[in-house]
Subunit: 360 residues, 2 copies
Amino acid sequence: MGKMVYNFSAGPAMLPVEVMQRAQAEFRDFNGLSVSVMELSHRGADYMAVAAQAERDLRELMQIPDNYKVLFLQGGGRGQFAAVALNLMGKNAKADYIVTGQWSRSAVAEAEKVGTVRVLDGFEAGEGPRKLATSWDLDPTAAYVHYCPNETVEGIEYDFIPDTGDVPLVADMSSTILSRPVDVSKFGIIYAGAQKNIGPSGLAVVIVRDDLLDQACPNVPAIMDYAAMAKADSMLNTPPTYAWYLAGLVFQWLKEKGGVEAIGKQNQAKAELLYSYVDTSDFYENRVHSSARSWMNIPFQLKDESLNEVFLKEAKAAGLLALKGHRIVGGMRASVYNAMPIEGVQALVDFMDDFAKRNS
Amino acid sequence: MGKMVYNFSAGPAMLPVEVMQRAQAEFRDFNGLSVSVMELSHRGADYMAVAAQAERDLRELMQIPDNYKVLFLQGGGRGQFAAVALNLMGKNAKADYIVTGQWSRSAVAEAEKVGTVRVLDGFEAGEGPRKLATSWDLDPTAAYVHYCPNETVEGIEYDFIPDTGDVPLVADMSSTILSRPVDVSKFGIIYAGAQKNIGPSGLAVVIVRDDLLDQACPNVPAIMDYAAMAKADSMLNTPPTYAWYLAGLVFQWLKEKGGVEAIGKQNQAKAELLYSYVDTSDFYENRVHSSARSWMNIPFQLKDESLNEVFLKEAKAAGLLALKGHRIVGGMRASVYNAMPIEGVQALVDFMDDFAKRNS
């Protein structure tokens, strides 16, 4: 193995070291079968047990009520942008979308292919860093309200669940799922691309309330058909078996770490460590309103942007990888998902402080 | 590692031993980066090089002309059943589907959600094992003709390319791609789920002729939009990066083995070894017409079906895995994709012969 590094990639992101060690050890010999888990038929008893255990562990971690189905699908978050609309707009083709950034805006584009979308500003009016809005002019007859509890690009996160009355709430939790406790019963649908807090890319997890499975458009493609997938235990077609297996290992790892309550405390401590350093620095800044700052994706800017390239180069040399911010926001971004230990954040803060001193 | 086994799974299928050894060795330290290839951003230079190399190698292996795009998508073959129709029926919503078995029939169901489908029998009239038809009452004004060159369930394979005149030919090559030389220029679209001859499940490869990229339905979901995916080098959304990487390793392995011409000869030898044994046996039989027998999926029946369970149990104990036939056909099926060495087929024949002698 190479040198110690910390990988701050926004996704595909680092996976827990313990998970990767175990996956490597059993890569070509799963359960003594002398074959890889990725070489097993998804219809065989050995693989079915892997799949079922992953679902049980996720249900336990998130305390998912019995009236919700858990699906393991393909197509990532963007696939679910389309699938949500195709599954919910069959009887009532209008929905409200709260927009707070890049990902909630991208969800609108897919839903507009299916029905009528009203776009609602996710922020309160004002200049500069804005607070998240807590109420909207919602349509009580909409099929659903969609929002993104954590915007990966801008580093914006809700610390509350929007109240949408009787209208089902749909959440793209790609970069916040499993990072802290959440009351699943408040949602109609929760979905997440796996490549942040769940596993590798190529897998999406969907948690859908039973009563929402009867309102799909008639022409929904089979691989996006929640009801058909629920009936087939997500095996209407060949699932991404290896990604599903790795997700299961991550769920086991998270249970061993104490679950979402324990990891939530750790995530809060990691975020506070980095935000408090940035806020007390004259060299760096974070431009998100303090009430809306993400625990998972922490953008920061060097006040002297001409130092960006040398910052990234020296960080990489110090084993601090993938810190370049998304092109929309610029500057830097540290994604600190569940798998990132607090030692990694401390190493980043130490490097940032040293870099600031050497360049002030 | 465990004992020597041969895995005859129809898919997800065995991968080349050399590929799996390399993938395991570099599982947590790709190219000296101290991170897994699955932990790399798909937008970073390291991963982009992996993705581009895989495309170059596939183009070289299949001699794909420059006027074809190569896409690496999610959703498997069944996802492409929908995507083909959504991408080709935007201007002319009718297509002809030649049906020869389970998979070509399943493709019809997805296309019917998009437009008008005419189903054409893929076989000549007659009783018992039937020859594949070589001409059909095709509609010269159809948007395309779809067929499945290898039916994984029934073990039926075309050894010719249907002549569809000026109507674009679309082929589901999931279980035959890369198994023998094929003239890509005869096709409008070739697609394949990866989990047979390409890599793990969760990836689909699509080869599409440029002039077919302007006839999509307006509401095609982004993850199925061939033109948008071609423009974004298959990275409109986060691709299944690890599966794509493994596919690249398989392409490199196949080049080292001499490419599709060399592997085709080996596949033919493997198939002839098993078919010739079955045909000379009084104990086993294959019910497919000799002109339509698959090189990749070889179903066979024990004439005394009461021995099926003991056959499967003893085969497994002998290290011959996943031989149970699809429930539609019954009996046994040996899938002998590129990664299966001829030694595996010989071991199967030796076991079958021994089993027959002990049970006759």
